[in-house]
Symmetry: C2
Subunit: 420 residues, 2 copies
Amino acid sequence: MDITEIVTRLVLQLAIILVAAKIGGEVAERVFKQPSVLGELVAGMIIGPFALGGVSFPILGSLFEHASSATAFPEDNSELYAVAQIGSVVLLFRAGLETDFRQFVRYGGPAAVIATGGLLLPFFLGASATVLMGFAHGFTDPVALFMGAIMTATSVGITARVLSDIGKIDTPEGVSVLAAAVIDDVLGILVLTVVVGIAESGGVSAAQVLVVGAKAIGFWLGLLAIGVLVARRVSGLLLGFRGSGASLALALALGFLSAALAESFGLAMIIGAYSMGLALSTTQLRTRLEEAIGGVDHVLVPIFFVFMGMLVDFSAMRLALAFGLVISALAIVSKIVGCGLPSLCLGFNKIGALRIGIGMLPRGEVALIVAGVALTRGIVGSDIFGVAIMMTVVTTVLAPILLVPAFKGSQSGRRKQNAA
Amino acid sequence: MDITEIVTRLVLQLAIILVAAKIGGEVAERVFKQPSVLGELVAGMIIGPFALGGVSFPILGSLFEHASSATAFPEDNSELYAVAQIGSVVLLFRAGLETDFRQFVRYGGPAAVIATGGLLLPFFLGASATVLMGFAHGFTDPVALFMGAIMTATSVGITARVLSDIGKIDTPEGVSVLAAAVIDDVLGILVLTVVVGIAESGGVSAAQVLVVGAKAIGFWLGLLAIGVLVARRVSGLLLGFRGSGASLALALALGFLSAALAESFGLAMIIGAYSMGLALSTTQLRTRLEEAIGGVDHVLVPIFFVFMGMLVDFSAMRLALAFGLVISALAIVSKIVGCGLPSLCLGFNKIGALRIGIGMLPRGEVALIVAGVALTRGIVGSDIFGVAIMMTVVTTVLAPILLVPAFKGSQSGRRKQNAA
């Protein structure tokens, strides 16, 4: 395809994605009383390359053709994938902006404990089930390790969006979930490094794990520190530009820069974007940005969620249905227990612990990325890949359905003596 | 590069482009009292692959490497090019939205005459100069024909942006320029078809020209008619969705759809986007959209103009400097006279005719596309390509510099007896 055809296809795809997103979101909200993000995911499944989008219509042709697998689809549509990824960066930047920084610091310690619980239990249960159901020969079998790794990843995107929709990002539980999900991503890189090391070379040294871990955690803390230190100065500078448009564009540029830096240090882009948003949340820019970012947000973010839905390959899911159901159930139980138990010990009551556990449920794009790595390296087959997708879909779809009722009412999620 | 590296590079490029755009725009406005679009173009030249962006820094590497020519750069950066093109689509959609439809119909006839004048004179002068200065053997030499074709194209983007910045889109001159530029694009396709036909097969039949022309004009009128007919119904439907975010996303989707349709009929995408914006300008949606589109506009549109600046290859411009200066001068004179004279006969006074002539000056991306076609097909060398770029830069930079003073004061551009 020449460059003009590529752009034309992208513009057409975006038109259809936006229409599908808004219809899906509206149906979810009005008919099913669910958050619109759920409608966007389902809309993506319907128009995606593995459903309607893959059907070749007479004259028109197919919209999302050439998708041989869920991993090949982003490669064949790199422009669309890039736009969707920018949507996720904008989403997390905004989530950081909406977070109360003092709350974040206050819950940073507890969040680290919650994240660790939400990493260990899912990894252990995922690897165990893979061995017990005969898909791996033992705990050191790469397939078992990968299934464990896929179970640990928390996709903060869905939760951030739902909490933002219902105005609960700023609650103790909301802040804990976002902080824990970010820490989870940092820890998740460690797990992935270890697993890839074992799978490829038959072993990995403790020194390697330490180096990668120190780099990831150091980078994140450094970014956050620099962000907080320069935020006030940057904010003053940005407010000096004419109009809210310039502040918005420049603030987004900082978010993009931070995202690219995070990625080049081996972290996910969205961690960089969230950290920069968090740093700017303490400044005067916040109010002006929150108003101005609305339009960008409404257009870009739904594209990301529809794209996530489009990655669902129904035929791959059918291959190992029983295993998929078990893994999905374990994925739910392990995160709710793994994150909920530490929360109970950290001053949250039962409702608060449940909210945090549910908030950590969705695996989303992080699990898909890990699964994609395993598939393309030939470590797992398309059956295990299908199971990973099924688990991702179930947890991603379930989280918003459960989160809204869990946050109903204005009950505090903290135990009395700790309530502010 | 794998898909993650591609996205990381894009996010980094966007961060730097946005910062450069806003600094450039601010310097242009505050220091030089020029429209910010000019600062964005210059910022693009500075950070582009043929200046700073091409320099390989230690550790960091170069930002826009691998750019062997102005045509190869978009191919190597298809994701960035796609985002920039979406910026141009949003810009023209908004320009259509801001146009008064009754004015458009009122000035549609005159605009067709103006467009024809702005096509014939530049083509004739461009081809003649190429022959006279020894770069072509005669008028039927493909080089002469291409130079003529490059001279005819009007890039409505710059003018639309400047007129929007100074709030003059809705004047008789503003509407005439936008309508004429759109018609110019339709006619430009005819010229390009004829020239490519002659260059490749040594001749083209009158029937071919008629078919292509009828298709282009028919499509455009059809799109506009459908747009106007369904706009009210669509507007009602869109206003039924919750929040201005949904209306914005859906309206943009219609703009994208219309752009893709236009491209698939062999017209430029921006024509489709402009036509859909124009159709929606008569509806209740207009006010709501104009507010909501602001954020998208401030972020996406500057990316397009910085990208345009980045295409300037200074070394290619040096190769035929004298010819370039002559062509640039002719490009200015031929559009001002070619469009101004018909305007004088159509009820505009001298000021109005001058405003229209200047508004039609910028060749922008259309000329670059035609030049790129000629270069990649081996019809012109990099010297003629450099001349085309130089002419594009001069006219594009000059238009905003001249437009602002030309529109100063509230003098009518119409002769008394015709003034509303």
